[in-house]
Symmetry: none
Subunit: 204 residues, 2 copies
């Protein structure tokens, strides 16, 4: 992601605010009105710059055909998004990954959390985490050994126990004999910790 200029940031913010307020993206004229431009081409060129830098996508020919790339859905109040374990890429809150939302009291699990992750596979079955369970995920980098983390290793997302064995060695341990430990050498492999599990919900 390239650098964004202050003015382009203003336009991007303007688009987000407009969508939040109305439910649909602005026209060039709307952006001019909001930001005080006097020519629709001012908006146009900014939009094209934002598109080139991959902050937005523009559907050619469509009115209001602007969409913000990777918009993090903000769960106002108590509607928490449920996202699936996307095989490639992190479980982002981008709308296309959101199955549905679940209304849940804040602080339901003692701790705050950010979204629910739908579990695939049985690699944590001995920890009582079964297929289709919903894990309440708190986005954080504060991880202790033994925490159940949502980790991304080179585009693959998994749920595992976290254990740091040495400054540069992290073990991701399943809770199922049929699966193997994953040893990650941080100098060789990129490891991104999405967050940790603070609770679980099962519907049956």
């Amino acid at each position: 992601m390239k650098d964004i200029t202050p003015q382009q940031q203003k336009v991007l913010d303007c688009i987000q605010v407009y969508i939040n307020k109305t439910g649909f993206p602005p026209t060039r004229a709307d952006i001019c009105r909001e930001l005080g431009f006097k020519s629709p081409n001012s908006a146009e060129t900014h939009l094209r710059a934002l598109e080139k830098k991959d902050f937005i996508s523009i559907e050619s020919g469509a009115s209001r055909g602007i969409s913000i790339n990777n918009p993090e859905i903000k769960h106002e109040g108590n509607d928490y998004p449920i996202v699936g374990l996307v095989a490639a890429g992190s479980p982002t809150l981008a709308s296309e990954n959101v199955e549905k939302v679940l209304n849940c009291p804040k602080g339901f699990f003692g701790s705050d959390f950010d979204y629910f992750l739908r579990v695939r596979g049985l690699s944590m079955k001995d920890a009582g985490i079964m297929e289709d369970d919903l894990i309440a995920v708190k986005k954080t980098q504060e991880i202790k050994n033994g925490d159940i983390v949502i980790a991304r290793i080179e585009d693959e997302v998994t749920v595992k126990y976290f254990q740091r064995s040495a400054p540069n060695i992290v073990h991701l341990k399943p809770a199922n004999e049929e699966f193997n430990d994953i040893e990650v050498n941080l100098e060789e492999t990129e490891l991104y910790i999405e967050g940790k599990s603070v609770g679980l919900i099962r519907e049956n």
Copy 2:
């Protein structure tokens, strides 16, 4: 909120899907394309009906000026009691047995339920039910084979899989090799089914 017709539901779903996919609402023509209508007025009239019934809002004059009304879902204060597995006697809702209450939206687990039961022991560990988990219990006698039931046998309460093997024989099966099946002959032994599990919550 008035009743929605099946066709109007289709249109509403179509709008939601379109927004999820593209980031902006559809035009009348888009809706026609998605649903196979041949006249833009088909979409128009459905939209006006949905607006009248308050499912959507339409910004007059604006292209793609459709927004879905999300009526504030406030989970009506549903405080469900958490009861412990009382060794002797059923897990009654008498106040001395209630640990605390947990506020939880109605229909959180798809089905209604009556209280939470705090799990003791690991007899259902292979079903992903661990010590201290909270089972959402629905008081009911409508039990199918394979349901997870909360059963009382002569003053002892347990959580097990339910299986009726013969008209008078019920098996209560644990999900843990280290525990044994319990065979209950209904002619000899009193078996009371408290209810069944419709969901699970874990705080960690």
